[in-house]
Symmetry: D2
Subunit: 390 residues, 4 copies
């Protein structure tokens, strides 16, 4: 694990490589590298992470799987019309989009696919290994940014696609990040293999809007000893995610993560539901309304409401780049197993880290500091480096 | 500084003792002591502070100064009609309200008052000392909860009343807490005397609503590397505070604190104004609307809005009790000078503590832990106990 | 149909007589009559209705059916604690509450009730007739203010209770008002009987919050030629109504009315869902959030959001009094059949009146004017008095 | 006043012809004419106005005054970048923008301008007459869409520019529309001349957002007999209008119109202030928050809040086209004096029409119907045609 003089390039293998998030990731990485835009929204560009040995944006190489076949430059055009990408950028980085497009392989299983699960895993892993070899990459991180799957159907159901991809990542020797609420590495079929692999992995479900707010507001109420009686929320979103989450089973997967944040920060689950509505008219824009009824001194009833209007792809993309960089560096540094210190990014983080955003940020910065040291000393916090490679 | 076997009683001397906040403090302390209500909103009732040696609520004795003469039980009745106090409580704790009422002395200067500033200070200090002696108190904490004064008028202007009271506190040997944006101990005339006195003091301007939110949302934007372009706010409030803050000079004092939170957490001051409107129809209830325009990845424009509907007196009162307990204990433990670790409670805290609420809470808990130790070891953080009494 | 010299008293028979709305109706009528409160929220107190011959509030006598047996004075106490009724009022009108309580009869069917539907209708009608005779009333109006029932289950299902009460009203010769979304007179089993009876009836589903707003905002968008693309809403409410509407079947009945307003005023049904959440912590208070995405000139996307925080019982009660007065007077004046001119009050009005609130108000005022004339000339608009009694 | 066989073309002379609103007017008119966009937001495209003899969009010819000299095509480009105009439209209608640009003349007075007020009026009138003759127009309507001026400074102050333009319109024999809160024809120096001229005129201050809402919500509260206690509002806007209205004197002019709507619809002026903040980060987008505290039955306190996020230029432009068409046709039909029936469009309408939007719409539709008749019968409502030309 020595650093060569010419900087090694690092692969980012996107599951769902033709989706809005993936397209924004590839476009944005190229635009920031070219100096067309500042790296707004990228946490790892903060000076705290200087010297942590993260791969440069210009050293990232993109590829991935997708079941769709709309070319990336065309997807970028659509996102430009929808206001997700600023005018002109997609054209300016057309070469990079075309390059990434050439590295996208057909995903699966698609309807009529007769391959077994084992065959699919092998095929996906082969795609990833080919990508690494062909591009002479030091390593590649597999990141799931595909549409949310319905919640798992029980032990006898077929493996969800997200878990097939996760197992393919392990087989290809790649660290894995699950940015969605889908099962992925959480499936029982993957857990033991993940442990055996000695590879680092992170997830799940990127914290980009309503839950991000909850992760700072929940601790506020707890620290001020205010009693939250009901926390209700409605999310309106169009785009592919809106349609996927209109499926109650998929929404259930997402909402579990949202509830976990409240339970962990408040120490109790208040009344209240969370709705996710598919509103195609909103396109890639999301509006989240939260209504929090709480009690103050002597039982006085008060209310906080928040309205978050954001573009999900624009919120997710810089975090995907952050995660790819951090996970690649963790892999390089020999860290293995669940990356508890990356809880800052997730609704439902692996491991037992803190739930309050401030503490998660502190853990992330400390992780960045540990990565600075010669790789042999990077280790999980409070831990005699159990998961490190010998 | 030894603890007697019978617990010593501690005085809380309220400047503005007949106001809404003071009335809620006295009513609430009695109601919680009597078991009529849980201590919702009181930070120091959290297990973290068990064993820190804070005075029990049942050991607090109230008195204070005010220029008005409406009896406390009558004030409590008015607050009950306005929904600030729950029905029945004011009657249930009538004896405690009457007792506190007997300990209120006329404040000043009132119109026609011919006493010099020095005479006023002496008179106020005598009132406080009498209170301590008559009630055989171990000590008393002076807390300013009076209406906000206009911002200071320059070095030649007469001392603001809040500073006269602060100087009286020093002269009476009492620690001091400024829960308002008024000058108090911040006035240059008080600063050096405060230092000489060796007494602990805290302030200023309790963080109860909009600024509390800003102290968690500001860090969120900073940690996520999102660029806040404009942060605008409007506060609607009735009650005495609404009228006081309709004076632009008074509002200016308050807004300085609000802006400081943004500047400190964002590292920059975004566009945007803050309005404070007097809306008598709202009574003691406050509505604060914040509109935050921020940029995400590739300059995508997004918006967060928050609406906070709270009862200011009910938000302030438990914090006043927290501060009285913490400051009294700090005094007992020999801590002196600005209580930087109490920044959690204030918009514009003394000293150079962190501005993010999460870090302020961590500092507060650490302070509580230091207070647990035998008193001789309690000291300001990172400090060889410079201000402790010998 | 001549007016006697001593003013005749008029009965108001409330189905759901022990509920929040009914209790507020009885309390409020007595409080306004006694001069304790102005008639805020009562449309018929406007000078437009002077001279329309409406019964005075002091001439209304209350009774009703309910399956619960909590005494009205006790219900009023609970509503006072919940902030629905102002402190002191329930006590001040204790005699009137007790009087109404004595006129409440057991409703049904309750579990274990072996009576046939026909027997129940007879029994209910007898209760109403007894009430009229015992109190020497000129007439009585039956008003359904009971909890919302699930939507009807098909032609073979048992008649919903609301329809049993509606049929009992017809049998007792009483005009009928349905303030809820339940079937009542809309059931096919009641429609022909209603026509035969020659009695006036009105409904259904009082327009008290979100739909009231929609009835003014929908026309605004239409008149300004702005294209509404999506109209989404979430309602949070506790109290009995929250629990009843947590049943999706009951919510479906309510939402149909809400959608009708949009369809009728916009001329199209936009995207978007409506949620009704049971949030017990909110008690009788309701919060309704609406998010309206619309297009302006050249397709520019804009958004209007509304947040309505109201007390449902306090919004409904004055309208119930208005409806009782108007319907009683219509009956006296010989008007029969569906009271299309009362669409102002309802989400899903009988007949084919306008859907925009302003036009509904104009129709209501015109109706009040027609009632002014000698009774023989009062008639439905644009109609050769087809349904009038000879 | 005979209609020629080939349709006559009609001029629209825009004061402030290079501003955002004017640029959107010219762009949008061309885009709708070319079938690139539907006429969303144009009231006069409703079937109600078919047959009223309004000039077709394709018959409108644009010119105007401005003190700036940025070419219209360039302004349109800026508006496209700011999201006001959709991508591609400005280019598609480049020829029309260039044509209008050629008809723009320098406005005034500019600094250093030594011309007297009388000379300026003559010069402006000459510009307008030249425009009419050169383009062989049947007539031209002068529409003020310039930035808001500070409120007038008293009788001895120089005439505001808006009044100079209004007087120039009269001198050139053109009907006049004031879409801004500036004085224009309201100035005492213009009133009698306007009357003498026999020309129709309309204004003032287009009702595009917060006040539009107030014009439907105010009547709702009044009709429902709900007591509005406080109506508070904050407007955030960037663009030129934000900067202009940051001047308290200019804001005062605008707020007077907003207050008038409440006074007229509620019958009383509630508590509450209106703020207009310049927030350059918002560009041409405006956010208006309104907080309405109202009382229901028995004094129960309730709240409605509205948040309007719109693009001012996109809201104003179609109304400017509506007004130009209606006023041109009124002129053709011989209507003269204040056009009271156009109150639907304005915050502070000329004449004594209704204030509720619904009634204003009814008046507008009736006006459209009167315009259908042979021109000699078109007249102000309830009026023996006092102002018509012989």
């Amino acid at each position: 694990m020595s650093a060569s003089l010419s900087r090694p390039r690092v692969g980012v293998w996107l599951v769902g490589a033709r989706g809005s998030v993936a397209t924004t990731v590839v476009t944005g990485c190229a635009a920031v590298t070219a100096g067309l835009h500042p790296p707004t929204g990228m946490v790892t560009e903060h000076p705290s992470f200087t010297g942590s040995g993260l791969p440069a944006l210009s050293d990232l190489v993109f590829g991935g799987h997708d079941t769709l076949d709309c070319p990336l430059p065309k997807r970028a055009e659509t996102l430009t019309a929808g206001g997700v990408l600023p005018p002109g950028v997609a054209t300016a980085v057309g070469a990079e989009l075309a390059a990434a497009d050439r590295e996208i392989r057909p995903g699966g299983p698609t309807s009529g696919d007769t391959r077994t699960e084992a065959e699919l895993i092998v095929a996906f892993a082969d795609d990833i290994r080919d990508f690494v070899h062909r591009n002479e990459l030091a390593r590649a991180v597999v990141v799931n940014v595909a549409s949310t799957e319905p919640a798992s159907q029980g032990p006898d159901a077929p493996l969800p696609a997200s878990t097939l991809y996760a197992l393919a990542a392990l087989r290809a020797g790649c660290p894995y990040v699950n940015f969605t609420p889908s099962e992925g590495m959480h499936h029982t079929a993957a857990a033991s293999e993940a442990e055996r692999s000695g590879l680092p992995y992170a997830g799940r479900d990127g914290k980009t809007g309503q839950t991000l707010l909850r992760a700072v507001l929940g601790p506020m109420f707890a620290q001020r000893a205010l009693t939250v009686r009901a926390w209700s929320g409605t999310n309106l979103l169009g785009g592919g995610d809106g349609a996927a989450l209109a499926d109650p089973a998929a929404a259930a997967a997402k909402n579990a993560g949202k509830e976990r944040v409240l339970a962990d920060t408040l120490g109790t689950v208040p009344e209240g539901e969370v709705h996710i509505d598919d509103v195609p008219a909103l396109g890639d824009w999301k509006t989240a309304w939260d209504h929090i009824a709480f009690d103050g001194f002597l039982g006085t009833r008060m209310v906080l409401q928040t309205i978050w209007q954001g573009c999900d792809s624009a919120l997710a993309a810089p975090l995907v780049l952050d995660l790819a960089r951090l996970t690649a560096r963790a892999h390089e540094a020999g860290v293995s197993g669940p990356l508890t210190d990356l809880g800052f990014f997730f609704k439902d983080p692996v491991g037992d880290g803190p739930a309050a955003l401030g503490e998660q940020y502190a853990a992330l910065v400390a992780f960045g500091e540990r990565l600075r040291a010669p790789s042999s000393t990077a280790r999980p916090p409070g831990d005699a480096a159990p998961g490190e490679r010998s």
